[in-house]
Subunit: 219 residues, 2 copies
């Protein structure tokens, strides 16, 4: 019975996500769903990505948090429109919350919409929001054993950003072991080694994302 | 309807947790529910805690993970009995999973049972397992803004272990700001600054936990 229930909730979510996706297709907006554990550096990476992309593509951000508007304030301070969703306890965004947030944005003026999901390495990966691309951040301080322990998000993500590489010398994180595990779980994923703090690797990621945005625009 | 549903699941969990608690009371076992985001260092702290406590108290560990038996293998390697629960996708342990795991342990020989929850800063805090004490780990690499963003776990935890303090010089983590936020959210919490890597602060935490175990035993 519990399983049936979850499946019904997921079915309802999938229908709503399809409706979101139809709108994004109509407006030719590329939508990125950015996920990670808490504190992996989603907002910091986003700040650096915005600094590089905001003059090249028209963008907005939806910030998902259980509480507070801290992250949306950080984004708005960079001159990019930010809508905050407070989930009031829920551990992930769903397609319905996404649809509500869209009412606050001028979709036809946008090329790129970034959704920063709730910090959680589990549940967000289960909920389709209607996005074009899921990406995730793994920080090196979390350890390289995560792909097999939390396989769904690593499997669903087309891009995996390995963040805080400036801390590599102070951790036992094994980049090659991570690459081997990812090759098994998700061989097609793009892997970017970055440091939101030093800016290392951000340009490669931002350029890759920009190409994806333009591919959709030109299609 | 969705809210009612969640409330029914939580009600069922509370009833099962009460039954677990009754068993723990009967056997005079102290049960610790250890929670954190993925990669904050629960297992590493547990390894160091076991090294200090295993000759002083009779203990066992229940490991909650979505997949893999990696963490239970690390614990078993230290000569402590470890039971692995694989949640098969679920993002938290519940009282029913806990009850199933208990069938694999000789409860009457134990003083301390540690439950390492699924790595998740959100959902585990909502599910009572019947434990005596909830504790959590926050690693300094996650940032000091977490208490107000994920308030439930910080509020529910009687002990908060701030881990990876060996990395403090390489992060912007502000220990005093964290203490101020915790004083507001959960003024009674014990805060331990630790490094599972160097062992710093582990003795203070382990001794505190040992006192709690003995208080219950002597009661």
């Amino acid at each position: 019975m519990k399983v049936k229930l979850v499946s019904n909730i997921l079915d309802a979510n999938t229908a709503m996500a399809a409706e979101n996706r139809r709108r994004f297709q109509q407006e030719k907006i590329f939508v990125l769903n950015l996920m990670s554990a808490p504190g992996a550096g989603k907002t910091s990476i986003l700040e650096k990505t915005i600094a590089r992309l905001k003059d090249r593509v028209s963008m907005a951000v939806i910030e998902g948090d259980i509480c507070t508007t801290k992250d949306a304030e950080r984004i708005a301070a960079l001159g990019v429109e930010a809508v905050q969703i407070n989930t009031d306890g829920a551990c992930h965004l769903d397609a319905n919350m996404m649809a509500s947030a869209l009412a606050n944005l001028e979709l036809n003026s946008l090329d790129l919409l970034v959704v920063e999901n709730v910090g959680n390495l589990v549940c967000p990966a289960e909920f389709d929001l209607g996005e074009d691309l899921k990406a995730m951040v793994l920080s090196v301080t979390e350890g390289n054993d995560k792909p097999f322990k939390y396989p769904l998000m690593f499997r669903e993500s087309k891009a995996i950003l390995v963040n805080k590489i400036d801390l590599l010398p102070y951790t036992e994180f094994d980049v090659e072991a991570l690459r081997r595990d990812l090759a098994e779980i998700n061989p097609g994923a793009e892997v970017f080694l970055v440091s939101a703090r030093t800016g290392e690797g951000i340009e490669a990621w931002a350029s890759w994302l920009e190409r994806k945005v333009k591919e959709k625009k030109d299609f």
